[in-house]
């Protein structure tokens, strides 16, 4: 793209052709206020708040969010005309906006508040009656809608159309009477609905899970990584008074592009559960860590193949590394089963990065319930199709949400026969001359497919059409656990002793188990029969790293402090190793990371010190009110 030179408020700016004025202004730290514009959505020019004055151009204020830059353009955001135009628009936005900022969950981080202070008039001339709606309206279990606060920017409905490919949210009525509503007043069911909370520039769409939990200034926030699936979306976790009160998305264009799914956003209340396990118990009686770990070690030592181990989906690379040491030593021969993992084998080499899906001309999705297994990959595929014009082939026995695009080629295979369909694909017309990269995304059909067959079929197809493969792992750190060889897939039937880390095995505790040691954060049914119960940390208290499905190692930062007697898992594994007679004397998490990086090539990134808090963008400063 050729570069364009222009001037904004006297600053010389060089940006690629096609850049919008509002984006060009950001590069020199000039704030042009926007409501309807969002850099991930197509511009629409609905709110008119971004009015600026530029020449050559008409002698009226123009919207900066819909106008691309032109060579030699002179933009004035501070001319009397532009400043007054924006202030007038803000006055209009406030005509029907209720004055309930004190009870509004957006208050304190609200663009409407900020823009009114920075660009609006200091006093109000509105003394007439305001438009009233019933409020709050529950749009779903997690989202509340307040129509009085809405400024009709249409970010939410556009997001639903463009990004999520859903038809659940729409605008009813016309003109000033317009309001946002769900289709036929049905509750929202999309797995991506929570993003409209982040998108809403006012307090119209708010979280019901976080409702009235805290004001924004009460919380501290920590940049961390989601632990619900293998995509590894970047999140911001918000803490108040030692509790995890909110999770929001954090934009990382290589992985999530600023979206997270509803599971990642709303599924965190177990962290604050008052009934959480905090103290180790032996046969129901409180004990010390030393006694509990000695009892555990006594029960699981020397059992060989009669010992079963259930691992959580979200164990970190560091914990997996320590566990590998235990499995190589005192627990040799134990049967290991990892929660939620797919049958996909470990990758032979580097696989396709997530961001390359954008550039694919043809995308093949095989044997994966992609919307629920790896939701944000689903949004990436939708973006490549609807914004970049990629063609889409889906091989799955049941309907998927990608079918909402009428051009999707959906091949409904018989269960277990996906490999056969993949082999037939090489002669498919879309793949004859793809005209660019081909992305082959494959899952394991939730265990219904023969993975050796399917993986080789996908590999062969990739070779034939010049495509790249992306195995869609499901468990959070499945790829890291595979690299360390702890992502077991063994049946736990017939084991006599069971170390159940995380939630109990999906198939239930086998009846043959005589000794059960549970290591979990919540009390669950059956733990009263356990010989030892150890309290575990959650993702909000954990240090460490996850390897996501493309192989990127990302570091967790705990938003919530650990209160004794709770201990970090690496510490417990150290002590369990000592109780089993294996010398694991890591003094902290960093030596574990250095050791793991030196011994495992796939985890070499662990050797780098965790990056400091991401640098935030420049503070955009706008003018004072006219």
């Amino acid at each position: 793209m050729p570069d364009i030179n222009l001037t904004i408020d006297g600053h010389k700016v060089t940006v690629p052709a096609g850049t919008l004025i509002v984006e060009a202004a950001k590069t020199v730290g000039i704030e042009i206020p926007v409501f309807c514009y969002h850099h991930k959505l197509d511009p629409v020019g609905a709110c008119r708040l971004c009015l600026v004055d530029f020449s050559p151009g008409p002698p009226r204020p123009q919207t900066a969010c819909t106008t691309p830059v032109a060579e030699g353009m002179v933009v004035r955001t501070q001319s009397a005309m532009a400043v007054q135009a924006r202030a007038d628009i803000l006055e209009f936005e406030l005509v029907n906006h209720p004055l309930d900022c004190p009870v509004c969950d957006k208050g304190g981080e609200c663009p409407l508040q900020d823009f009114t202070f920075r660009h609006g008039y200091p006093t109000s001339r509105i003394d007439g009656p305001r438009l009233h709606f019933k409020k709050p309206i529950p749009l779903s279990e997690n989202i509340a809608l307040d129509r009085e606060r809405c400024v009709l920017c249409y970010r939410c409905t556009r997001y639903y159309d463009e990004i999520a490919w859903e038809q659940e949210l729409t605008v009813a009525q016309r003109g000033v009477q317009s309001f946002i509503t769900s289709q036929f007043d049905q509750p929202l069911q999309s797995n991506f609905s929570g993003n409209i909370i982040d998108l809403c520039p006012v307090g119209a769409l708010t979280s019901r899970v976080w409702r009235f939990e805290s004001r924004p200034w009460d919380m501290t926030h920590t940049e961390s990584v989601c632990s619900k699936c293998a995509v590894g979306c970047n999140t911001t976790m918000w803490q108040r008074r030692g509790q995890l009160v909110r999770i929001t998305s954090r934009e990382n264009d290589d992985i999530d592009e600023g979206w997270i799914c509803d599971r990642g956003r709303f599924d965190y209340t177990d962290v604050n559960e008052p009934s959480r396990l905090r103290t180790p118990t032996i046969r129901g009686a409180k004990s010390t860590w030393a006694d509990a770990l000695a009892a555990t070690a006594g029960g699981i030592k020397g059992k060989g193949a009669k010992l079963g181990i259930s691992l959580p989906a979200d164990l970190t690379n560091e914990e997996a590394f320590l566990f590998r040491r235990l499995l190589d030593g005192p627990l040799k021969g134990a049967k290991v089963k990892m929660h939620g993992r797919t049958a996909i084998p470990a990758p032979a080499g580097p696989t396709m990065p997530i961001k390359e899906i954008d550039d694919a001309r043809v995308i093949v999705v095989v044997a994966s319930d992609i919307e629920n297994d790896v939701p944000i990959i689903d949004l990436r595929v939708k973006k490549a199709v609807s914004k970049r014009g990629a063609k889409l082939i889906v091989i799955y026995p049941e309907g998927v949400d990608l079918d909402r695009n009428p051009h999707t080629v959906h091949i409904r295979n018989a269960k277990g026969a996906a490999a056969e369909e993949v082999r037939k694909l090489s002669s498919h017309e879309l793949l004859q001359n793809p005209g660019g990269p081909v992305a082959i995304l494959f899952g394991d059909g939730h265990g219904s497919e023969d993975m050796n067959d399917l993986a080789s079929a996908c590999g062969a197809l990739a070779e034939q059409v010049g495509g790249k493969e992306m195995p869609l792992y499901r468990a959070t750190n499945e790829r890291g656990a595979l690299a360390l060889g702890v992502a077991g897939w063994d049946s736990l039937d017939g084991v006599e002793a069971l170390l159940s880390w995380g939630p109990p095995p999906t198939a239930g505790v086998p009846t043959s188990v005589r000794f059960l040691a549970a290591w979990d954060h919540l009390p669950r049914d059956g733990y009263d029969k356990a010989a030892v119960v150890l309290p575990a940390t959650t993702f909000a208290e954990r240090q460490g790293s996850y390897t996501n499905l493309e192989g990127t190692v990302q570091f967790l930062r705990p938003p919530v402090a650990i209160n004794p007697p709770l201990k970090e898992a690496w510490e417990v594994l150290n002590e369990l190793g000592a109780a089993l007679g294996l010398e694991l004397d890591y003094p902290g998490i960093f030596p574990i990371q250095r050791d793991a990086a030196a011994k495992t090539p796939a985890l070499a990134a662990l050797a780098q010190t965790p990056s400091p808090e991401p640098v935030t963008g420049p503070v955009l400063v706008g003018p004072a009110h006219p």
């Binding site: 309930d100 004190p102 009870v103 006093t123 709050p136 009235f212 004001r215």
Partner: protein, 201 residues
């Protein structure tokens, strides 16, 4: 460094000279014993005359002085006439508090459990009276005039825990002079001119 050290005197010179500040002796001849007695009598006259002046000492705690009607003492949370709490749990008092002595945890009103009008109420409202400096910013910040500072200043108690005033304690019925104080405060509005919000220029 060593040079600098050695140049320092072992005992620093005192800042004040030996006779500095001592009044100079009056010059001339001593005026005599009679003049001394007269001066003593003059002093005693002043002392004795105080016997016949009105008493200004207040015998606290039996007697108390009159406070300004705008005096800021302990806090009260107000209710509306229909019994609903005024506080909406917005935490603006906690945000305005310069010492951070207010804790508010909000919750949502429901038809079954209606505590305040509107959507939000304060589930927890606590003030740490040991920390409070009685500046009254909480009262200024409150958008619904729920929190006010009353006239009481005798807040001593027997344990630190008792100084955490909970919502129940803050909602106790107010003494009648709080209303007088609110009226007096209304007569002295904020000195900021209309529309002035401290917007950075």
């Amino acid at each position: 460094m060593a040079d600098e050290k050695s140049s320092q005197p072992e005992h620093p010179t005192p800042l004040r000279g030996p006779r500095e500040g001592v009044p100079a002796k009056p010059e001339g001849k001593h005026p005599g014993v009679a003049a001394d007695v007269a001066a003593l009598a003059g002093g005693l006259k002043t002392t004795l005359s105080e016997f016949f002046r009105p008493v200004v000492t207040t015998m606290y705690p039996e007697d108390k002085t009159v406070r300004s009607e705008r005096y800021r003492g302990r806090h009260y949370l107000r209710r509306y006439d229909n019994g609903l709490e005024r506080c909406i749990g917005c935490e603006l008092c906690a945000a305005a508090c310069p010492v951070g002595c207010i804790l508010v945890i909000a919750a949502e009103n429901s038809d079954e459990n209606r505590v305040s009008p509107g959507e939000r109420y304060a589930k927890t409202y606590e003030i740490n009276m040991l920390r409070c400096i009685f500046c009254g910013y909480c009262e200024d910040a409150c958008p619904v005039q729920a929190i006010v500072l009353g006239p009481e200043y005798e807040l001593s108690d027997t344990s630190r825990e008792k100084f955490i005033y909970t919502k129940e304690k803050l909602l106790e019925p107010m003494p009648p002079d709080v209303e007088a104080r609110l009226r007096a405060s209304a007569a002295h509005p904020s000195p900021l001119p209309d529309g002035e919000r401290g917007t950075p220029k």
